[in-house]
């Protein structure tokens, strides 16, 4: 099932990539990122079968980082929402030129 798993991981990753590009809702962008992380996790797990248990450890780390990221990211979204009353990314572009 290795090949299939890897290809599946690629599919999920690409969907995530596409999502980041075509959605404007900050929370959904976030979800797309989570999806990409999971796609990578899948690849780790699949390869771990052949290469070793370290793959699992890495997934563990990825998950923790993802959790931390989600917490901080969502907090940021909340404060942004407080400021702009929306989570549409078109509205917060203070950092442009």
């Amino acid at each position: 099932m290795l090949t299939e798993s890897l290809v599946l991981s690629g599919v999920l990753f690409s969907i995530g990539v596409a999502g980041v590009m075509i959605r404007r809702n900050a929370i959904i962008l976030f979800m797309c990122i989570e999806l990409m992380l999971n796609a990578v996790n899948l690849a780790f797990i699949a390869l771990a079968q052949q290469i070793g248990i370290e793959g699992h450890v890495f997934v563990f780390f990825v998950m923790t980082v993802a959790a931390a990221e989600a917490a901080v990211g969502l907090a940021i979204i909340i404060s942004i929402f407080r400021l702009f009353e929306t989570v549409d990314i078109r509205n917060f572009n203070l950092l442009r030129w």
């Binding site: 590009m21 962008l29 203070l94 950092l95």
Partner: protein, 677 residues
Amino acid sequence: MENFEPTLLGLIVLLPLVGFLINGAVALFTPGNKGVSTWVGPGVVGLAFLIAVVNFIGMFGAELTAPIVRSYWSWMPVGDLQVDAALQLDQLSILMTLIVTGVGFLIHVFSVGYMKGDPGYARYFAFLNLFVFFMLTLVLGANFPVLFVGWEGVGLCSYLLIGFWFRDREKADAGKKAFIVNRIGDFGLLIAMFMIFAHVGTLDFVGVFAAAPETFVYGGAVVTAIALFLFLGAVGKSAQIPLYVWLPDAMAGPTPVSALIHAATMVTAGVYLIARSSVLFALSPTAMMTVAIVGAVTALFAATIGLVQTDIKKVLAYSTVSQLGFMVVGVGVGAYAAGIFHLMTHAFFKALLFMGAGAVIHAMHHAFHETHQDWDAQDMRNMGGLKRFMPKTWIFMWIGTLAIAGVWPLAGFFSKDEIIWMAAAHAQGPFEVVFTLVWVILFIAAMLTAFYMTRLMILTFHGENRSGPGGRHIHEAPAVMWVPLAILAVLSIVGGWINIPRPISATPILGWIPPWHTEWLHYWLAPVTATADNVFRTRVGELLEVGPFGGGEAFWAAVAFMIAMVIIALTTVWLGKQERKPAVETPPYRGFAKVLYDKWYVDEIYDAVIVRPVVNGSRALWRYVDDGIVDRAANGVGSLARGLGWLGSRLQTGNLNVYALAIVAGALLILLTVVGL
């Protein structure tokens, strides 16, 4: 050579420096303390004079054939260049030292009276002492750089003293002008030094002059260039055309300063330089011709301006320029001894005339001050009939006038006529016509001298007094001022007797001068000028005995004397009859006289042709080149970077989707380069 040891040679130079330090300290910290300056100022110069006299007497008996060089410390030792702080004692330098310290001492004494009551009394003596120090460095220096120290130093003192009353903008301007114009000459001297070092490998007088005849080709381009650059230095310092313009303005300084610096000593430094470097000039006939022409033209040109000036000091100033022209011709035609001779006599009678004028101005100034008259104390139109109030000054100044006009047996007769004659005697070789012309020009200039000096005397001392109410307050100068005048008057009479030309001493009436050696100065200076004389003799030939239009030296001297007497007499009669009014009531000059009065508009021409273009050019360079191009280019680079940054910043749209797209595209690019299509 006898065993002659110079006595306290360094002290001659050092004493005025000490005087400067003491007076300077007084001026800065206790400006009111005049007692110290009164004694220290003239005292140090007097002491230096005494030491110089001792040395002179020693040398007199010793018959030196080579200069005595005393090296004090190694000044600029850099590889081949070994310049010592060294002094050189020889016949020329001791003579100059005597003039500088002797005349200088008298002028210092005179200044005690003249500057009494000036708040800058101590400062004045500090500068004056400093000047003497630098002047002695100039004449005693044993190499070109040490000479240059003195050279620029006297320029500095001249600057400081011309601008002594610096609150007056005109006076400060005059000082500045003197310094800058002098620096043009200094530039020439610098280049000459560089060339000498490049070709001879040393800058010591002894070394250079010994090596010069072998090193340089006679009449070659190199030695001509060196001589001409040296001459540029001399032109600047000795106020020759085209750099004479600073000297008349320099009269803004206190009158004793004019006497000391701008008549007796500093301005003659150029003549000294040429005499000192006689070998180099002798090797280049072209340079000598140039020197002679410039000197002659200056002599005539300045004399014409002197004819109509109304400011007593201006007349004397142009007279000085004219007389300097005579000296320059003297050294230019190869008659070094004659040039130095005239330098010496001129120092006597011009210092006398200036200080006499100073006494007059002093008196006029006080008189006008008493009556609160807002009249020019230096304008001769406001004087007249002063012989009644100032009889001593009147007599002394007449002596000076007769001396400068070349009346036998006064000093000027011998020295000036020797120069005139020498121009004729050198009228041979490749530039015969030129020297003949020079001789004629000098003759005319000498006649003009007799006229304008007589005019000065008539306007100042004779006729009715035109000082208005101030006339009643004019008094004779105090003793401290007239005694130096008296001494100088004696010197102006007998000073010429040391060097009576042989043909004249052989002439019946003119030859009657009791105790003095014939052509003594020639013999005295012979060791210094020997090399140059040799060059001339071998390359061109012996001096002529007969002038271009026939007649020998004695003949032409007699002619000149007659003419001078006639001119003086005629002028006295003619001007004595004229009606005159004070300056305020006199109409301005018209026609050619106005051109002369306005000095041929040379200052205006210089202003338009040189000064203004330089200033405007500077301003344009600053505004348009420095700010406009260079700085704008630098800032333009900055703006360019900013512009590029602006362009790049357009990529920062602030839209996360675009960023995501960019990230993906970038990641794809990297992937592509890693794995390929």
